[in-house]
Symmetry: C2
Subunit: 136 residues, 2 copies
């Protein structure tokens, strides 16, 4: 009854995974491609993209998708946080949530800190409904 999703650990997949586990730079797909190519010169960029796409929902890697792949804009310049629906990408305001964020660390890890961004992740009303229907 339970169809195992058969997946294979190819050289390429292993190399991508190892590379991501080794570096601390949070590389872009392009950068991963360049790094893995030193070990597997014949790997293609498409394969890198497909594997990143595959490994991320599998929980093997993290995808720092700030707000999906497109940039988003906001007419309100006063400080506020956001909630983003991880299912449909919708972004909304989070008004006045009592987040106690340690006032400021002037430097962190060598960085001169000028601010922070807090984003909640979840399911919006519409997707919540959709998900409920789909999940038995």
């Amino acid at each position: 009854m339970s169809e195992e999703t058969a997946f294979r650990m190819t050289e390429q997949r292993r190399a991508i995974l190892e590379t991501l586990h080794r570096v601390r730079t949070h590389p872009t797909a392009d950068e991963v491609y360049a790094m893995v190519r030193e070990e597997l010169p014949r790997i293609s960029l498409g394969t890198v993209y497909r594997n990143l796409e595959f490994l991320s929902p599998a929980g093997a890697i993290l995808r720092l998708d700030g707000c999906g792949s497109q940039m988003r804009f906001d007419g309100t310049t006063k400080v506020h946080d956001h909630v983003r629906c991880t299912s449909c990408g919708r972004v909304d305001y989070v008004p006045g949530i009592p987040v106690t964020l340690k006032k400021t660390h002037p430097t962190v890890n060598g960085y001169e800190i000028i601010g922070h961004r807090l984003e909640y992740l979840g399911y919006c009303r519409a997707c919540k409904r959709g998900r409920k229907r789909r999940t038995p």
Copy 2:
């Protein structure tokens, strides 16, 4: 001595600004284009991009650039935060910063919350140096 940066408030710029001030959806450039086009059908997508680019550093709008325009990946799946250099885009880990984040709000604004993302913004060591040199 102080050269005023002369800029003009064109119809297009005003329309883009008004649109962003009116909606709460954090639209993408494409979506802004579609919305503004209802008022100014002859506006071009290039103009929208140029204005978003212009208005954002001017402080008139906010640009939710999660991690720049490219996606980034991370081999560490255990929970941690990030610092991003707003100058060069570099992203690093932030290990064990004592952030006191209110445990959980199960729902926020209708969203079922499953997590959050905290990102510090600042200047990395290299850019800090560069910036100092440039700023008299």
